[in-house]
Amino acid sequence: MLKKRKKLGRGVAVIGAGMSKFGMFRDKDSKDLFAEAFNETIASVDKGVDPNEIEALYLGNFSNDFFVRQAHWGAMISDLIGLAPKPATRTEGACASSALAFREGVFAIASGFYDMVLVGGVEEMSKSSSTEVAEGLALATVPYEGKVGFTFPGVFGVIATAYFAKYGASHRDLMNITIKSHKNAPFNPKSQIPFTVLELMHAKIESLKKKGRPVPEWKNEIDFLSDPGANPSIAWPMHLYDCCPISDGASCMLLVAEDLAKNFTDKPLSVAGIGQGSGRGFHAAPSLTSFEATKNAAEEAYNMSGFKPEDIQFSEVHDCFSIAEIIHTEDLGFFKPGEGFKVAEEGLTALNGPMPINTSGGLKSKGHPVGATGTSQLFEVWKQLRNEAGERQVKKNNLRIGAAHNLGGTGGTCTFTILERK
């Protein structure tokens, strides 16, 4: 019967990557942002590339239809980058939309049909009000959740209370995740919030002083984050600083058949493992403190690559909310279930720790233009594995294996991608 090989038909390599700055831009639209990412991608190819060689585009976009009332972004972007009349395909997997684009692009080359494809994603969210964004994102919840009033922070609030009750963690543990991720943020020039929590605290103090308002006596970041005046509840126990911002942005990567990669660069990255999974809502999920879609994605990617969790030297994980980072690092096998909440305080996931997580600053500080996030996480892996990450460079001997985990919806779509520098 079925053999279930789950290997690529031929090797695929990344030869270029780029991303726009992430942020809230009144004067830039999706095309402007994608142009930024595209131009950087073409310029990043060490030995140069003729964009006319690109044979197809796979583009992730979750919901520009809702956010800016324009759909059909595959074709729009194919016109922008001069790809038309060659094919463009849009992929949608909520916040994992561009990781799906990456995966489909990999399969298109692995099948032997194309030699070079562009993959990426774009989202333009900040022109909607925050209520509209909440409503737009809630389109990706399971109907039983959305209909009774769940929001995205609410979904992760539920996961947090389930996790706290099961393992004895508290909101204080979540603060350590936020503090850790923001420590990497000032070193990322693409970051939407390029500040540490301490810097944000001092900025708040200055702003209160200027307004002649009383200044609370915050001694440190934990004091600051414990103050509901500075860090109000959004969906308890998710507070403002547990949630990623509303963002605009784009990212993309250029993929080629591995045997052609050396024509373009001496430092290509191989797609070592690529996995995807689907999940159900709370009503049917096997656990409230784990995502079955992540576990399926991880199993596929580990099996394909032959790597184990301990072989991964650093990883981006989908920290749309602080609690999410804890759940993912457990689901991906980096830490044992019930241990993930302790590791940030112990420094294990810091930039200089044994298992750096979210060296980009994560979605929390880098920003989360949902359809662009997946390939932007892989952009970080690209930078790190090529030793081009500047001040946030992971300093490990023989850095060659990095990964990115992307989550869509309330765990409905998850991917895990392992890249390797050979």
């Binding site: 209520t131 009033g149 922070p153 609030g157 539920v158 706290f164 959004i234 308890w236 126990p237 009503h283």
Partner: protein, 138 residues
């Protein structure tokens, strides 16, 4: 008698009648709530609707301060958050629901594991009756 359609539409119709329904596979006996038209355990398609008792325990919850427009219209905001949660029914399945009768201003007083029972919240929207599945502490 015509076989009743098992769908989210019929699920909501029963909520309007103060009934929380699930479905059971006649072939393997697996129970689902909310009801499923296909048994995902044995792929049986002969399913029957069954009413749930409506008792369970709170498996997890959140108190939401920034809600979608339809909750804001009901008067919920930062000063008046609402609680939603996941309830594990006595029958062993889970449902998403609003949680009533708890102090959302003091969420630390709401306990995971507390026994709850079903409560149907009727609202009218554009001249149509809608019902929110809700639970209250016992």
């Amino acid at each position: 008698m015509e076989t009743e359609n098992i769908s989210d539409i019929s699920y909501e119709k029963y909520l309007n009648e103060d009934k929380l329904m699930g479905s059971r596979c006649k072939k393997c006996g697996e129970l689902y709530a909310p009801p499923r038209p296909i048994c995902i355990k044995c792929y049986g398609t002969d399913m029957e609707l069954v009413e749930m008792k409506g008792d369970g325990k709170l498996a997890a919850f959140t108190c939401i301060s920034v809600g979608p427009p339809f909750m804001v219209e009901e008067g919920f905001d930062r000063k008046n958050p609402y609680c939603v949660g996941v309830v594990e029914l006595e029958e062993g399945t889970r449902v998403d629901a609003r949680i009533e009768g708890v102090d959302t201003g003091k969420p630390e007083t709401i306990k995971v594991g507390m026994p709850v029972s079903v409560h149907f919240l009727h609202r009218e929207k554009n001249n149509t009756q809608i019902t929110y599945l809700a639970f209250k502490p016992k």
